[in-house]
Subunit: 742 residues, 2 copies
């Protein structure tokens, strides 16, 4: 493995001096809107930047320019549960909780199990407990803390999630108080490690089709849990391969010959010595792409009998005689109410994914301000990576999206806390919470994977070394995109909710409303068929790219664009689905399937609007004006980047004029340079601490090497017996020859 060289800048430049100048940058950037000097940022950056607020020399901000108040922004990003996060961040910095390198799957699993006991010793999950179990019922604070574990070891975060966020939470959310008192204490203390046995090999996201059965036997007043075929084995369950002594098993409840759909049962699976109980089978999922600190595995049940009272019976119960009752009449509603209690998994993945992006950006941007490569203008000084336009282009839009993601996550977490604390627990609030989680979890997990990968590549060979954390982060985060609700399935869910809202709206509008609707449609079509213009845009922009830049950076413009897009895309899908109403179910399904990609696209447009609005609201809530100014540039970068990514759509729908369309990329680049001096501040506000950052390339190692090399070259230049370059000699000789001719 090695990098080989390239026909260098100088060489090609030498070939065509007239038109093509030396095509690398220089230390001093003189781009419009950029600071006169940015190189001191790289040169004088402190040896380690892994502190909350940089204490060393800082990026040069243009005179009179705004400067980010790192502490204030950091506090805003931490949100309502800042205190909980602070404690958790201290915890996540402890070496004994960190991910090991080059250990076997067995060793990693054993280590994470030990770490789980350290969390118990810390009483780390106490906040989740409701009052009658002696806890504060602080769901927001609990999830906030739990997310922070991702920077210690994602395996620990997810194993803790399995034990307390899924297994224990299922008992709390779906069981009665008697059941809580019986099982929750041992689950909290890890006396009983548990598996959350929902997913089957044959059914992941389609839980309604699970095939495991729980049949009530009136004679013995027991449930008989049974796995009817191979595809019905429970699979991918954390704790199932080794550690679980019990499981919350999702199975079809059957009593008196009626199948009441999927319910949850508490089923012991191993004895105190860890031996499988009679009728229980288990298999190990073996090594995975990441998260190898978790013993994922399979479970199957061969006519396993458990007491009647092991049904977690909050939403459905069976009397001794086998009579089924439920507080929720509709089987469908009942099922989704039961599943709805599990939304916290998605909420916490959203937060953890966001935190992982922050760690990756901290590493890559720190390195990019110290690492130097290539030079042209100044032969004695190479340029730091972040001063290359392409490097800014790789990292800064991801930084902007990560800011948007953090503010949006805080809104999601507050919505979650409102519902789960009971303060705002209405069916509508639950549905909104689920839709928001379904929109944000796919967005943030996708962003995290893309960001971590971009960061890893932006660090070159160093990024591939395990010690620099980025590859491991990608490996562990990988499955965040497909578990706890596959991203595609979740986005489809969002799209359906949007369509359903749209059609209810249509149904409910009065006569005047219909007029408004028709007028709106007409407006959409008019925009689309007015070639090439939104006349107003062109008139206002005429001959003035500065003015257009200002307009596009206005919150009003961006919001209008993103909101119109979200609305029109839903409307288009709804309209294109109308014919299906008159078709046979089979034809209708095929027709709908022909619009599935558009549906997903509409859901993504909606998610981006949610992010943009959350970011904007987050900025408005800041008191420090300077910080607002800097973050508004970041928000603009996010907004314009998202518009630019879908620019063809905006052009084709007449939402954006050709003139603005042509200008948007240059405006984006202008924003990159405006933000360049703030890059380290923006990363510092993430509050990624020493202990979270363990990558040597982001802990001063690179800077130290650069300084040593620079000192060597300085000494060389000062010395008289330094070898002269053949090229210099040749150039000198040619010059002499030319001089003689004249």
């Amino acid at each position: 493995m090695t990098a080989t060289a390239d026909r260098s800048e100088r060489e090609v430049a030498g070939d065509t001096p007239a038109l093509i100048p030396t095509p690398t940058g220089a230390d001093t950037i003189t781009t419009e809107g950029a600071p006169e000097q940015t190189d001191t940022q790289g040169t004088d950056a402190p040896g380690t930047t892994a502190s909350a607020t940089p204490t060393g020399p800082i990026p040069v901000v243009p005179e009179g320019g705004a400067r980010l108040d790192v502490a204030a922004v950091s506090q805003a990003l931490k949100g309502r549960w800042a205190e909980s996060r602070d404690v958790a961040r201290e915890r996540a910095a402890r070496p004994e909780l960190h991910k090991p390198y080059d250990v076997s799957v067995a060793e990693h699993r054993a280590r994470v199990l030990e770490q789980m006991h350290l969390l118990v010793a810390d009483d780390a999950s106490h906040k989740m407990l409701p009052e009658h179990l002696g806890g504060p019922n602080d769901n927001g604070g609990n999830v906030a803390a739990f997310e922070e574990l991702v920077v210690a070891d994602p395996s620990l975060q997810i194993k803790a999630g399995v034990q307390w966020g899924l297994f224990t939470a299922a008992i709390i959310q779906l069981g009665n108080e008697e059941q809580h008192r019986t099982w929750v204490p041992d689950a909290m203390s890890l006396q009983i490690p548990g598996a959350f046995a929902m997913t089957e090999i044959g059914h992941g996201s389609d839980v309604q089709s699970l095939a495991t059965t729980a049949t009530y036997d009136e004679g013995t007043q027991e449930w008989v849990i049974h796995t009817p075929f191979r595809a019905a084995w429970k699979d991918y369950l954390g704790n199932a391969a080794l550690h679980a002594r019990a499981a919350t098993v999702f199975a079809r409840l059957i009593t008196q010959g009626v199948d009441h759909g999927v319910h949850c049962f508490y089923v012991p699976v191993r004895d105190e010595e860890g031996k499988l109980l009679p009728g229980i089978s288990s298999e190990d999922d073996g090594p995975k792409g990441g998260l190898n600190g978790i013993d994922n595995g399979r479970l199957a049940f061969d006519q396993v009998r458990i007491p009647r009272t092991n049904l977690l019976n909050r939403y459905g119960d069976v009397a001794e005689d086998g009579t089924y009752t439920s507080p929720i009449e509709s089987p469908g509603r009942r099922f989704f109410t039961m599943l709805g209690t599990l939304v916290q998994g998605r909420v916490s993945l959203d937060g953890a994914a966001n935190r992982a992006s922050q760690l990756a950006l901290h590493i890559a941007i720190t390195y990019a301000t110290q690492r130097r490569q290539f030079t042209a203008a100044d032969p004695t000084r190479e340029m730091v990576l972040l001063d290359y336009q392409s490097h800014l282009q790789r990292l800064m839009p991801k930084l902007a999206a990560t800011y948007a993601g953090a503010f949006a996550h805080e809104q999601l977490l507050q919505a979650f806390d409102d519902v789960f604390s009971g303060r705002g627990d209405t069916p509508e609030a639950r549905e909104d919470l689920e839709t928001m989680a379904a929109a944000l979890k796919p967005t943030s997990t996708r962003l995290a994977l893309d960001t971590v990968q971009e960061c890893r590549e932006a660090c070159g060979g160093a990024g591939f070394m395990a010690e620099n954390q980025l590859v491991g982060l990608h490996q562990d985060l990988d499955v965040y995109a497909t578990f706890e609700g596959d991203n595609t399935v979740l986005l489809q869910l969002v799209a359906k909710r949007l369509l359903s809202d749209y059609t209810s709206e249509l149904k409910n509008i009065d006569r005047a409303g219909i007029g408004r609707f028709i007028a709106q449609r007409a407006e959409v079509l008019a925009k689309r068929h007015t070639p090439w213009t939104r006349l107003a845009q062109d008139l206002s922009d005429r001959g003035n790219s500065k003015r257009a830049f200002d307009t596009m950076r206005s919150a009003g413009f961006q919001e209008e664009m993103l909101a119109d897009r979200a609305r029109v895309k839903v409307e288009e899908v709804a309209l294109s689905m109308r014919p299906a109403a008159r078709m046979s179910p089979t034809d209708a399904a095929a027709h709908v399937n022909k619009h599935q990609v558009e549906m997903l696209d509409a859901a993504r447009a909606h998610a981006e609007l949610v992010l943009w609005r959350a970011f904007t609201a987050g900025i408005e809530a800041l008191e420090d004006e300077d910080s607002r100014t800097v973050l508004t540039d970041v928000r603009d970068l996010f907004g314009l980047d998202r518009i630019n990514a879908d620019l063809a759509w905006f052009l084709l729908n007449g939402q954006i004029s050709a003139q603005r369309g042509r200008q948007i990329t240059s405006d984006l680049r202008r924003l990159l340079w405006r933000l360049r001096p703030h890059a380290l501040d923006l990363v510092a506000a993430f509050d990624v601490r020493p202990g979270h950052v363990r990558a040597p390339i982001a802990l001063g190692g690179e800077q130290e090497r650069q300084d040593e090399a620079a000192a060597y070259h300085r000494a060389q230049r000062a010395s008289s017996d330094t070898p002269v370059s053949e090229k210099v000699l040749r150039d000198r000789a040619q010059k002499d020859k030319r001089a003689q001719k004249k």
Copy 2:
């Protein structure tokens, strides 16, 4: 780890029956252009599909429709060195060469070293030897075979590449015949494992700035190899941590006080017992993101002395008295000539990345034709994943790009063989070869990473299991994007070559040529400023989307679009760089840096044109008309997908009319359905064999489970004591109530 359920299709559909039908598809797809029945493809697929040509039931192709000749297309993909590939594919299927799971870094390294000896026993690299060393000088055949190892274990492919493709090849390409006879036999036999010591910690892609020195000592007639500071340590070198006994070290040649730039030296580093020789230091890079079967490490030299004759002196030599001579006068040209001999690394990575994409697509598409999930229209039969529009959209464009990549790689390999065999070794041919390699290696390695990741996610939880190969493939392929020339640096190289060609063209044109140039520019600007139209497109398309579809599928249209784009993008960059010619070097560098992203974009546009043309030429060379028909659809999918990805540019530059712009996405989706019945054939032509595929999900495991579950459900439906669903009972009761009311 578990997937939780979602507000299902049925539920939401139930809310809004009028406008939104049940939003899943059905077994029978009735899309225009699609076959009436596609479900038999999934249902009846043979237990294992990992054979070159499927022998079981096959996808249903519309009556009279063309059918891919799998054997013929497979042969075409194997190209000129089909025989060499066949032997190598047999080899890659041998279990003893396969990647192990869950082993320590040390164990994996030991295993790969053993595998290397198996390759020696096979004489697997014999083809690379020139005639005077007893070989056939079959460089194309050698590289073709070597690429195929990627499906056994990428670590083996790359370790073999280090030993023979870099270390041994450096001796052959840069040394004289005496040196060949001295060192090559032991390198070939692995008596002397070697490192290729080019990259330094401080300098990866910028080889010209390497800091290691080789200073000639006339007194002893020795070279003194020295590492002046920490950043000059050689790093990331395969074999350096443990196995290397010698290294080809790149260092600045200094003699008689003159620095002649980077040359290559043969330096012993360890003795027969593996102990480091005096003055040599080594460090282990430790665990990496992938490729852990290779012992990457660092090397440093403390005044290490080697004989004068250890300079590999083909392009530069030093006499006993220290006088430097070279057959190439310009130091720049000399340097790039030396490096040019190493292009084979990039060529082979291009081929290996392509092969990895093929393996990933084989696994994901096989699984997608067997795996079923969700149903709406038919309650007893779920739909196979590949019948979902979004699933086709995820996988088929990547399949199309992989086809393009395979045909382009074959052209690259032939160009490489022409140059390296000496048959077509001109400076122009070398430069073209290097440019093509610099364009294709970033494209194919990026495609491979994206394809493998998409395939892994498309397989859900199963995709995350190590045994299903996809995660490991991503981990190993990850670094392909940054080694052997970082992808960004290579694309910049391509852009510079394109700019340089463009400006030479301008310089060389005569008066008439200038007229043509001005006319061309005028045309570009006219297109751009003619709002919204290419009049001809709109006239010819008017009211006829079928005709527009046919036009866009014409090779002429696609080539015009892709070629115009490649040309105009280069032209735009060249024009925007003009002002730099009158600037100071510093300002010029900053100005150029402001256009770096555009340069990279122009290079990508060029690469896509190269791929499209290679694909088209590959189809034209096929004799079987049916295969040409099917592959033309695949080519159209590739071409239109690439145009669509940059649609805003085409619209803004007036290259594509709004009408066509709006139609292109629906045309793309039409192509997806047209290709759906050919999916398994298209994958079969990749000739991914049993032994290459080791993923249980692609070896019939999923189909077996589906069949067993289907049999169970059939039996249930036939039985009288099967539980009735509560929902069915409720629906029935409500119906009865309604009937009574009437």
